[in-house]
């Protein structure tokens, strides 16, 4: 069977596209008629994003420059919402103004959660990719890590209440074991519980991309490093981490953007007492003050995209799928 060798084997989509060029195909009786061009097939998908993402984003920017009073939004150009946002940032010096405090706190959460999810996620992915030998077991365990992602985040948040609450399981044990005389108050509705919930909810976003990157690492490279005399840590640092970098960056982007824009986790787990960039927008919206809400949204977007740009300098996402 030497003829099979001469059959063109379009492995990449572009070649397949040429092969399926409608102008080259024979007449067909398909209900769709001729093969549809790519842009027609992608159109419904594209229209959704045009209507529900691109246009809304433009509107957010436009409205952020509108004026407003207690009752309504007034469509006349002003930078009032931005100026008011940074009110006192210069005059109050050296005291830090509210908006900078809020962003400072949000960035602090962001960094803490990023560091924790990265370490935990990397360790879990490393275990799955390099220590579990059977592919079936690997996939099952990866699925075990994924299933909670498909369940409700709010439920997963409130499920900490019976554990961390004033009369919760942990306090019962601490008081019962005479470790403390009074129940510990900072376990719930505190910055601690917010970080805990973030890690609980979103480590998934680190595990899967890092595991995906690691699963593609040629095991022979590890052996080569070992044969060349590298110890475990050297192999990890010089071989595995550089090759897992795309997964690390993708996971980091997810975690950073989720934490930056969050207002639900901070609200529920912080007992509505902890400030965050997302909550500022929500508060403005609850007061129906659309221009300041939009201005805060633009600010949040700029900060978030700034962080992502830094991260994407490191890797091209599309190559990694």
């Amino acid at each position: 069977m030497t003829t099979t060798d001469s059959i063109p084997t379009p492995r990449n989509p572009a070649a397949a596209a040429i092969a399926s060029d409608p102008t080259l195909s024979r007449e067909d009786a398909s209900p769709l008629g001729r093969v549809l061009p790519g842009w027609v097939q992608a159109m419904p998908f594209g229209l959704v994003f045009l209507a529900f993402f691109v246009v809304p984003l433009i509107l957010v920017v436009v409205v952020s420059f509108f004026d407003y009073n207690d009752y309504e939004t007034i469509p006349s150009f002003t930078t009032r919402s931005y100026v008011e946002n940074f009110e006192g940032c210069v005059s109050q010096l050296p005291d830090v103004c509210t908006i900078l405090k809020t962003y400072g706190s949000t960035l602090k959460f962001c960094f803490l959660v990023w560091a924790l999810t990265l370490v935990i996620g990397f360790t879990i992915a490393y275990f799955l990719a390099f220590h579990v030998r059977s592919v079936t077991v690997q996939m099952t365990l990866a699925l075990v890590c994924t299933i909670p992602f498909w369940t409700s985040n709010v439920i997963r948040m409130i499920s900490w209440i019976p554990l961390l609450g004033r009369n919760g399981l942990i306090n019962q044990m601490l008081v019962g074991g005479h470790v403390v005389s009074q129940p510990v108050e900072w376990l719930l509705y505190s910055q601690f519980s917010v970080v805990l919930a973030f890690v609980h909810l979103f480590t998934f976003f680190m595990v899967i991309p890092i595991f995906n990157s690691m699963a593609r690492i040629d095991k022979r490279l590890i052996e080569a490093a070992y044969d060349a005399g590298a110890n475990g840590w050297q192999t990890l640092w010089n071989v595995i981490i550089p090759l897992a970098k795309p997964g690390i960056v993708i996971g980091s982007i997810f975690v950073v953007t989720i934490v930056m824009g969050d207002f639900i986790t901070v609200g529920v787990m912080g007992g509505e007492q902890v400030a965050s960039a997302g909550k500022v927008i929500e508060t403005r919206l609850n007061a129906l003050q659309f221009p300041p809400a939009a201005a805060n949204a633009v600010l949040l977007l700029v900060v978030t995209l700034g962080i992502i740009t830094l991260l994407t300098r490191v890797v091209d996402i599309r190559k990694e799928l």
Partner: protein, 296 residues
């Protein structure tokens, strides 16, 4: 490489076990506490074992109409699921060919994933407000009579959810088609199959397990969505939004009963999807290639 299990393996395995406990432990706790006796509270100990709080939930007992929110979420979730599968598959097929604006569309979808949800939600709300103002000002009388808003579950709400589920759908389609052997389609064409027949009898059965995955993402992400819905859902809230509101007001295990119920729905959907994936894989193995098996 090294034979046998190293100490490192056991340490990492212990870490993994601890992580799984961290993931599932709290869920199991509220599952148990939802069967709290009628006199029991939000924490342990359990004051007996009963279905009391599920009963309360069923009656609606004082809190918002959970049944209606449940049905709304279900209807929206199923709609989002169907639209996500159809649009993602079409886009996935489209992306295998070259077209102008391909890169732009891809990056827009990715941007939709990473732009904070509240911003998208705010934008959609603003857009529908503008639309409402426009209709009220210039709309024909038959439309403006009694007109309040065009915002709703299946307009702004559906759109908001799709901006969250479709990017996942597209990424899964990319993962599928990056590994798809285009020679199979060539073979089908050479045997005289039309494009539709090629898709129906060759491509679709091969990608079916992954399509179930796309459907799973579509439904579950919509079923639990809050952030994007928050400003864009219209006057009637979905189940997770009602639940979020209840976290600050309800102080009885009723909220755990509700949590257990919605988690049960999630698990049911996940199980059905996983069984579907396993079944379609098995079917592929059974009915797939007979290459190398000789003449029959």
């Amino acid at each position: 490489m090294r034979e046998g299990r190293s100490l490192g393996f056991y340490l990492l395995a212990a870490f993994f076990a601890a992580y799984v406990l961290f993931l599932y432990g709290p869920m199991i706790v509220i599952f148990l506490l939802s069967f709290q006796g009628p006199t029991g509270g939000l924490t342990f100990p359990m004051a007996g074992f009963s279905l009391h709080w599920f009963g309360k939930l069923w009656e609606g007992g004082g809190i918002v109409d959970i049944g209606a929110a449940f049905r709304r979420s279900l209807a929206l979730g199923l709609t989002v699921m169907v639209v996500t599968v159809v649009f993602s598959v079409l886009a996935g097929l489209g992306f295998r060919k070259k077209f102008r604006g391909q890169g732009l569309l891809f990056y827009t979808a990715i941007a939709s994933l990473i732009v904070p949800s509240i911003i998208t939600s705010l934008g959609i709300a603003l857009m529908f407000r503008e639309l409402d103002d426009f209709v009220k000002a210039y709309g024909p009388a038959w439309l403006t009579d009694g007109y309040t808003t065009s915002m709703g579950l299946f307009t702004s709400g559906l759109g908001a959810h799709l901006t969250w589920t479709l990017p996942f759908g597209l990424l899964i389609m990319f993962a599928i088609f990056n590994r798809f052997d285009a020679r199979l389609e060539e073979a089908a064409r050479d045997l005289g199959a039309s494009p539709w027949q090629t898709f129906r009898y060759v491509v679709a059965p091969i990608i079916l397990p992954s399509l179930i995955g796309v459907a799973l993402f579509g439904f579950t992400l919509s079923w639990d969505e809050i952030a994007r819905s928050s400003q864009a859902i219209g006057s009637y809230n979905t189940l997770p939004m009602e639940l979020q509101a209840l976290t600050t007001t309800v102080t009885t295990p009723q909220i755990y009963a509700l949590g257990t119920t919605t988690t049960a729905v999630s698990f049911m959907v996940i199980s059905v999807a996983l069984l579907g994936i396993m079944y379609s894989r098995a079917r592929q193995a059974r009915k797939g290639s007979d290459a190398g098996k000789g003449l029959v």
